[in-house]
């Protein structure tokens, strides 16, 4: 209510103060980059010209009578990620036969537009608000927490590590959170399946990548302390210095690991989502030798020898599908947003390179192979993509 009053007051002030010599208004964000898949268009009639360039409307082809109303808030122009987000969420609703009209708002980092979208959604009112991306999630937490309209986050980093909530069992508010990160406990469990006597984990990350530090490194360090695992930092300070940093840090880290585990049979090198680190996988492999290199991004497991052994991560489609499922449950009243646990994809998506496995003499658990999404054979050729044989 306070927000609404403030917005009205602000609107009045702007109107009253406006004159021929008024300052130029900020440019309205234009949502002209969002693409819709054929399967989405088969289920929805999408209107991209609704009189506001910042908004699209998707209505079920069967009509909007009885349909739920959902607003999706997009913070920036990230074509691939948010196109996937919108299409996935819309298709989850269609597959689960929950008719819904979607109003997709793009605010391009402009908080005023985001607040306008929020106010617009209150006036309709919509049945559910969804954030796409970590910024939109932060915005919702700041401006929408405690409102009657429920919300579900999507395509966002670990909300606990991001400080949005403290209890993974649920927010206790009107917002249900989902995460694109693998839950730390799950990650460690998988690492221990790979190396049953695991004692030391070397974590490679960029100190400048606060997101990776916040959502991947810190939670891992906390879990390791509880489990009696030793963490060895392999840090780089930025992309420019990454090569030199790694040249220095990797031998040092491996020496530390050998002090505890001379044959490196109980150790793993974990590569986080820091670009500065994972784009140097060949360099990392060269130093690691027979030390298993595990990545948190599927892209680091690739064809040929310059690849991580294994990746334990979350495919964005899986994370978005989970957010869609949460949204359906909340909007249909099947779940209370405050009581929903933080949504993490489990089991995680795995990618395996058997050429690397053979080279370093590590056996891959059969259950990993059975649940893997991408597999490269002992010649380094891709043989499975999206769970299917590719030859």
């Amino acid at each position: 209510m306070m927000i609404r009053i403030l917005l009205v007051v602000l609107g009045l002030a702007v109107t009253l103060g406006a004159g021929p010599a008024a300052a130029a208004e900020p440019e309205r964000p234009v949502l002209d980059w969002l693409a819709y898949d054929p399967s989405t268009l088969a289920d929805y009639a999408v209107d991209t010209d609704v009189g506001d360039p910042a908004r699209h409307v998707a209505i079920p082809v069967g009509g909007s009578a009885g349909a739920k109303r959902v607003m999706i808030l997009i913070p920036s122009r990230s074509v691939a990620a948010y196109t996937l987000a919108v299409n996935t969420v819309l298709q989850v609703f269609a597959r689960r036969e929950v008719p819904a009209r979607f109003d997709i708002w793009y605010y391009d980092g402009d908080t005023d537009v985001a607040l306008e979208a929020l106010d617009w959604s209150y006036r309709q009112p919509v049945d559910l608000i969804m954030s796409a991306g970590s910024s939109a999630t932060s915005f919702l937490r700041a401006h929408h927490s405690g409102h009657a309209i429920p919300a579900v986050t999507s395509a966002s980093k670990d909300p606990i590590a991001s400080g949005h909530l403290g209890d993974p069992a649920g927010s206790g508010t009107n917002i249900a959170y989902t995460s694109i990160n693998v839950e730390t406990g799950t990650l460690v469990a998988y690492l221990r399946r790979l190396i049953p006597d695991l004692a030391t984990i070397a974590v490679a990350y960029s100190a400048a990548n606060s997101s990776a530090v916040l959502t991947q490194v810190n939670p891992l360090k906390a879990a390791a302390e509880e489990l009696g695992l030793e963490i060895v930092d392999v840090t780089v300070t930025g992309r420019e210095t990454a090569e030199a940093d790694l040249e220095a840090a990797l031998p040092r880290a491996i020496a530390m690991m050998r002090a505890r585990d001379p044959e490196l049979e109980r150790s793993i090198l974990l590569v986080t989502g820091s670009t500065a680190v994972y784009e140097r996988i060949d360099q990392i492999n060269r130093h690691a030798g027979t030390l298993p290199v595990v990545s948190m991004l599927p892209d680091v497991v690739r064809a040929g020898p310059d690849s991580a052994l294994l990746s334990i991560g979350v495919n964005l489609t899986s994370a978005l599908t989970l957010a869609g499922v949460y949204a359906v449950d909340v909007v249909t009243g099947a779940a209370d947003p405050g009581a929903l646990p933080v949504g993490t994809v489990s089991p995680p998506d795995l990618a395996i390179n058997f050429l690397v496995a053979e080279r370093i003499g590590v056996k891959i658990p059969f259950s990993f192979l059975e649940s893997s999404t991408f597999v490269y054979d002992t010649d380094g050729r891709q043989v499975v993509a999206f769970g299917q044989r590719v030859y």
């Binding site: 399967s39 298709q91 597959r95 689960r96 036969e97 399946r193 495919n315 489609t317 899986s318 599908t321 989970l322 499922v325 994809v345 489990s346 089991p347 998506d349 058997f354 496995a357 053979e358 056996k363 891959i364 658990p365 059969f366 259950s367 192979l369 059975e370 649940s371 999404t373 597999v375 054979d377 002992t378 010649d379 050729r381 043989v383 499975v384 999206f386 769970g387 299917q388 044989r389």
Partner: protein, 827 residues
């Protein structure tokens, strides 16, 4: 030829009986084999389907929609090649909409596949969310639905269409030798009977029963052999399905060029697979004959040595060097045989009892070709009784055939017409109303019409009642049919009494009564045993008509074999007209009242209300089949018969009739309590109100929560026992206790009534006659009140345990009353 015609009446019943017996063995065996083998085949198809389900799950978990899957056609075709009963394989989305549907047998029509899929989807409507495999039946075909799940739930289904005729074809092929053997045995038996009779020697008759027994035994041996082969084949098929299913998972690695040696956790995967398929004795992965991993059931030591198992080996890699073998224990075959063995034992026992009664009649007819007359003219009372017995036996048998299905049938009709659940017991009460109501008019008729005509009228009423229930669907027809059946049974009861007493001297009345008891119990035992078996393989309504047909056969027998007979008037008194006067006088005696109320009516209440009505209903709703219910009734009838025979000796040994009566009541109480505790805990759906199944549930206001919890505890305890059929054993024991109770009370109570004060004052026969009429209050009220009891208990069978408690109180009360009456100073 003239000679052949002359011996025909003597040999024909035996030959017909043999034909019917062989036919029943072949029929029941075929039905049993179809049932068991079909389950085995479905289990195999389920495992084969799991191979395709597994690969689809992997795909779905990657996040892509199922319509983008590739290679489905290849895998579906492979399934069709492995099992020709799989006619189509389809993939649907979570809503059941077709993604692809493939006819996988040559010549099969692809459009028919989609039609079937539509029917299959409809068949699964109303099933749960589809998290587990499900089976539905559409037009004789079985449809298996296996869920495909991504990381968030079910996203589609693999649907397999299993052709019923193809599965039955395998059974029919296996049963060829059985039908041939049945035909050959029938011919051999008939020729042997003709040869023996043509020789005309006196001992010819002595061979009748042994040759019948031997022929039936040969048939049983042939059946056992064929069933063993068939079940063995079925178990081997299951082993194949299991081996292929696990091998497909391993082959998913080798097919993409990942050697098994590059993987860890294979042994763990095999162990998990055996854990979720506990029927596997051992599962082994070997390379070039060298065992890499072997997971065996530690309890099956023989399996470790590779003995006593049926196995199937499936190559895992293209070269065939890596092989996975799944072994199933022979015990699976033996267990499958065990189910059939119980049914065949029941059938064998029924056939032999049937044959014994009929061969005795054949011999009697041979001994008394001129027929039997009344006392004084008769050549042999024993022969006369032997000819009379089958007439009563068949009348009881026809009615007993349907006892196992009647409660469920009534339940269904009440539910279908939306009537109150309390009405389910109405047909049973009406049966006893009809029976009781017919007794006095029938007694009067015995003095006025030919006794054979009374027999015919009674049997015709039984037949008409059964036809009415079978041919007319409404609930009122069931009520009217059962009332008519009751009238028929009342007429038969009086007719057999009058006829038997008419052809024996007054000194031989015990023998006449024994013949009547054997006829009744024999009919009940054979009828319930065989009826339960036949009911499994027939529609209930059609089965009623078959039972009616048995009553018609009885009519033919009575018309052809039982001589016409009129009751001699000089022995008659006007008993019936004096009945009302006697009633007032005998009720003035407290010992008579105590006997009647606390024991007599209560025991008949238990017979009609619990043994005949509630027990079949409760067992059916708990998941037992018609055959098992029929066998439970058979156990009840056999135990009742045997205990009735030994009860007089027990009275002599205990030195007190009252003690035996109290023991009988305690046995009834224990039987009811056992039945209630083993089946109680959840609603049984009387009136179709609530689906059945044991489990802790409400017991209404009647059943205390502690009793429901106790029933649940008893069931959990039984389930935890290492004995595979512990619950079934306790049910059998409870049913047997009901029989013990009936047996201990049936004859001793008559002796006790005859020795009581009322008998001394009013006259023994008249007191017994009044007692016989009054005890039927228990017959009539039993089903009605037990039905209401179950309704009041929210259909919780634990109510029977409450009733058992009440019987315990009645037993104690009678014990106290009998002591008090014995010690009371005479006035």
């Amino acid at each position: 030829m003239t000679r052949l015609f002359a011996i025909l009446p003597t040999i024909l019943p035996g030959i017909v009986l043999m034909g019917v017996s062989l036919l029943m063995f072949a029929y029941v065996g075929y039905g049993e084999a179809t049932r068991v083998y079909s389950e085995m085949r479905l289990e195999r198809v389920l495992q084969l389907g799991a191979t395709i389900q597994h690969s689809l799950n992997q795909f779905a978990r990657s996040g892509l929609p199922l319509d983008q899957v590739t290679g489905f056609e290849r895998r579906a075709q492979q399934l069709g090649e492995v099992d020709r009963a799989i006619h189509a394989v389809a993939l649907t989305d979570a809503r059941g909409a077709t993604i692809t549907c493939l006819a996988v047998q040559s010549g099969a029509d692809a459009s028919a596949c989609v039609d079937r899929l539509g029917a299959g989807t409809a068949a699964f409507r109303g099933h749960d969310g589809g998290r587990d495999a499900a089976i539905a039946e559409v037009g004789g075909a079985k449809i298996l639905r296996l869920p495909v799940a991504d990381k968030f739930g079910t996203v589609g289904f693999v649907v397999l269409f299993v052709d019923g005729p193809t599965v039955r074809e395998t059974v029919a092929e296996g049963f060829g030798p059985v039908f041939l053997a049945a035909g050959a045995l029938f011919l051999l038996y008939a020729l042997a009977q003709i040869a023996i009779e043509l020789r005309g020697t006196e001992p010819a008759g002595r061979w009748r029963t042994p040759s019948f027994t031997a022929t039936v035994l040969v048939m049983v041996v042939v059946l056992i052999g064929v069933l063993f082969q068939l079940y063995r084949q079925g178990v081997e098929g299951q082993a194949e399905g299991l081996a292929r299913s696990m091998a497909a998972r391993l082959a998913a690695a080798t097919e993409i060029g990942v050697p098994i040696s590059a993987l860890s956790g294979i042994e763990e995967a095999l162990r998990d697979y055996r854990r979720i398929n506990p029927q596997i004795a051992a599962i082994t992965l070997s390379r070039d004959g060298e065992i890499l991993h072997r997971i065996a059931d530690p309890d099956r030591v023989a399996a470790l040595a590779g003995e006593g198992t049926l196995s199937f080996s499936q190559p895992v890699d293209a070269a065939g060097t890596l092989v996975l073998a799944a072994e199933l224990p022979f015990a699976v075959v033996v267990r499958a045989m065990g189910v059939g063995a119980r049914n065949f034992a029941a059938l064998f026992f029924g056939c032999m009892l049937f044959a014994t009664i009929f061969f005795r009649a054949v011999r009697a007819r041979r001994e008394t070709p001129a027929g039997i007359g009344r006392t004084g003219e008769r050549r042999s009372a024993a022969a006369g009784l032997a000819i009379l017995q089958p007439a009563y036996f068949l009348g009881i048998l026809a009615d007993s055939l349907v006892l196992s299905v009647l409660p469920e049938m009534s339940d269904r009709r009440v539910a279908a017409e939306g009537l109150s659940g309390g009405l389910v017991s109405l047909p049973f009460s009406l049966f006893f109303v009809g029976l009781t109501g017919a007794l006095i008019p029938a007694s009067i008729l015995t003095e006025r019409i030919d006794l054979r005509s009374l027999f015919l009228a009674g049997t015709a009423a039984v037949a008409a009642g059964l036809f009415m229930v079978g041919l007319l669907d409404p609930f009122w027809a069931l009520c009217a049919g059962r009332a008519l059946g009751g009238v028929g049974q009342g007429l038969l009861l009086i007719a057999v009494q009058a006829y038997a007493f008419e052809i024996v001297s007054s000194e031989e009345r015990v023998r006449a009564a024994a013949a009547q008891v054997l006829g009744y119990n024999g009919g009940l035992i054979v009828g319930t045993g065989i009826g339960g078996l036949l009911a499994v393989f027939m529609d209930d309504a059609f089965f009623m008509v078959v039972a009616g047909g048995a009553a018609v056969l009885s009519l033919v027998y009575i018309r052809a074999a039982l001589p016409s007979l009129r009751k001699s008037r000089e022995t008659e008194t006007r008993q019936s007209s004096r009945l009302l006067g006697d009633l007032g006088r005998v009720l003035a005696f407290p010992d008579f009242l105590a006997l009647l109320a606390l024991i007599g009516v209560a025991s008949k209440f238990a017979l009609a209300g619990v043994a005949i009505f509630a027990m079949p209903l409760v067992l059916h709703q708990t998941g037992y089949g018609d055959d098992e219910i029929g066998q439970a009734l058979m156990v009840f009838a056999i135990v009742t018969y045997l205990v009735t025979a030994v009860a007089p000796r027990l009275v002599a040994a205990m030195g007190s009739t009252d003690r035996v009566l109290v023991a009988g009541m305690i046995a009834l109480a224990l039987g009811m309590a056992g039945l209630g505790l083993v089946t109680g805990g959840g609603g049984v759906g009387l009136g179709g109100v609530e689906p059945g199944g044991a489990g802790v549930g409400s017991g209404g206001w009647l059943v205390p929560g502690s009793l429901t919890a106790l029933a649940a505890d008893v069931q959990h305890w039984l389930a935890a026992l290492p004995l595979p059929a512990a619950a079934g054993g306790v049910i059998a024991l409870s049913v047997a206790l009901l029989g013990v109770g009936q047996g201990l009370i049936a004859a001793p109570i008559i002796a006790r009534v005859a020795a009581g004060g009322a008998a001394v004052s009013v006259g023994r026969d008249r007191t017994i006659a009044v007692y016989r009429i009054l005890e039927r209050l228990g017959h009539i009220s039993g089903p009605a009140l037990v039905g209401l009891l179950l309704v009041a208990a929210s259909d919780n069978p634990a109510a029977l345990a409450v009733l058992g408690g009440a019987y315990g109180v009645l037993a104690a009360l009678y014990g106290l009353v009998s002591v008090a009456l014995r010690t009371r100073p005479s006035t």
